[in-house]
Amino acid sequence: MAEPYARLSGRRTYLTLIGSRIRSQLTYRSSFFVNLVNSFFLGLLEFTEIYILLHNAPTLGGLTFLQAALVFGLANLGFALADLVFGQVDSIPRYLREGTLEAFLVRPLPLLAQMITADFQLRRAGRAVFALLVLIIVLVRMDLDLTAATTSLLLATPVVGAAIYGALFVLAGGIQFWIIDGTEFTNAFVYGGAYAGQLPGSVLMLPIRVLFTFVVPATITGYVPALLIMGLPGPPWLPAWLGWFAPVFAVSIWTLAGLAWRLGIRKYTGAGG
């Protein structure tokens, strides 16, 4: 039975799948374009909140508009990239309810890999483009004294951020196997994390700040590395040097996510389909 798949092995299988998904999305060009533009505006509208607040106040959590925009850009780019790749995992409750998950499980590929490739949503790229645009403008306008260390931090942060948010998507997906009706419960961590992460962490009340740093490492995706890049100290419970440990946060949350995902699938008994 494995014969037909033998020719497509390992990485090539996934590249072929992603390629076919992208081609299929590009087939309906106008629809794809509308979604791409929408996704760009989603980023823009999220940014509007920071723009409005700093239109009324000189600083937000001790940061000027440009500094707050750097935090937004870093965290938002990380989240947008994670959403592009792992956003599909968010549909697990729907697959569970409709009993369509079996169709994925009988195929000879890991479920998570299929989730990623089954709907690699290139149309969500607009949001990443907007975040990147914010970052570029901020870096041009802000007079940063970049060293080798802070430059590498600048480049690594969106990638590590994407890893952290990706882990949150997978962790939430794994939990869905237990609480199908409780999707909103995990939304607090995934989308609450995305929201908290793109704000200057100092605005968060202390318990919320601790929650979104040490339980859900959202402040690590933007604010804390931005402090290091700008050479600022952190507020209580959020020292800037934590930023150097961002990869450690990513690895630990992925360990948790992997565990939840495995246990979730093992628990799944199917809908009798």
């Binding site: 929408n38 509208l45 909140e49 409005i52 106040a57 009706d181 607090a188 704000l199 919320i208």
Partner: protein, 264 residues
């Protein structure tokens, strides 16, 4: 009238079965409330204690009333009518002896009547206990606020219903819905109060029905628009309600004609 009341009641009961979803909704709205309150407090502190009438206590009131109204007003994603248009079942719905718009409207009010005490009040109470909120300066804020809230829910429903009716012309309305939700999120005052927008953006918001869904009930309930000041707010809401009823009636009338032509 009786049959619409029954529809509202059925919807009320239907929603009471999702206990876990209710608990999860309360949890999420509370967490988001704390984040939102923190941001506003920080901006207000940096601005010197108040932004356009919002001191920390008023800001807290705005945030927690907003988190409480989120579920009842339900501005986001609803595709029930458009799904039925796509599958063709709408033809059967139109043949039923109840008015399509009124039956969905009644059901939406039933849904909201359940959502308000179960999903709305808990975050409000938690926020009031932990951070504190301001009570309105006059008792009239409660009855007037309730009227404003019913108007807000109805305007939210009519907009969603209107968006769904677009599917009579184009089957895939997802793109339109996404764009609608984006604009609505900002202009309704959901992220940040409309009153602290820069001028050009505030004008854009006031020219749309969105603040009438969300900002208006919050203003009346919190007493920001107190006593007679509440009447212009209610007046604008009423205007949007009438406008949207006429618009959606016209849309369905045109759509039904097309449906007959297609032999549905």
């Amino acid at each position: 009238m009786h049959r619409y009341l029954e529809l509202a009641r059925a919807e009320f009961r239907r929603h009471s079965t999702y206990r876990l979803a209710i608990a999860a909704g309360i949890f999420t709205n509370t967490i988001f409330g704390f984040i939102r309150a923190g941001v506003l407090f920080a901006a207000i502190a940096a601005a010197g204690g108040s932004i356009n009438g919002y001191d920390p206590q008023q800001a807290s009131t705005y945030v927690w009333l907003g988190q409480a109204l989120l579920a009842p007003v339900a501005m986001y994603g609803w595709t029930e009518v458009s799904d039925r248009v796509r599958t063709g079942q709408i033809a059967i719905d139109l043949a039923r002896p109840v008015d399509l718009q009124l039956s969905y409207w009644a059901r939406d009010l039933g849904r909201a009547a359940f959502a308000l005490p179960t999903r709305g009040l808990p975050p409000l109470l938690l926020g009031a206990l932990i951070i504190g909120i301001a009570l309105p300066p006059s008792w009239t804020a409660y009855p007037l606020g309730l009227v404003s809230l019913v108007l807000g829910i109805s305007i939210s429903f009519l907009c969603r219903y209107g968006m769904n009716l677009i599917s009579f012309w184009t089957l895939d309305i997802q793109g339109y819905l996404n764009a609608y939700v984006l604009v609505l999120g900002l202009l309704s005052g959901f992220y940040v109060p409309v009153h602290i927008f820069p001028d050009w953006l505030r004008q854009a918001a006031y020219a749309s029905p969105f603040p009438s869904m969300f900002q208006a009930p919050i203003d009346v309930l919190s007493g920001r628009a107190s006593g007679v000041e509440a009447f212009p707010v209610l007046g604008v809401q009423l205007l949007w309600l009438v406008l949207l009823v006429v618009l959606t009636r016209l849309m369905l009338w045109r759509a039904a004609k097309r449906l007959v032509v297609q032999g549905g």
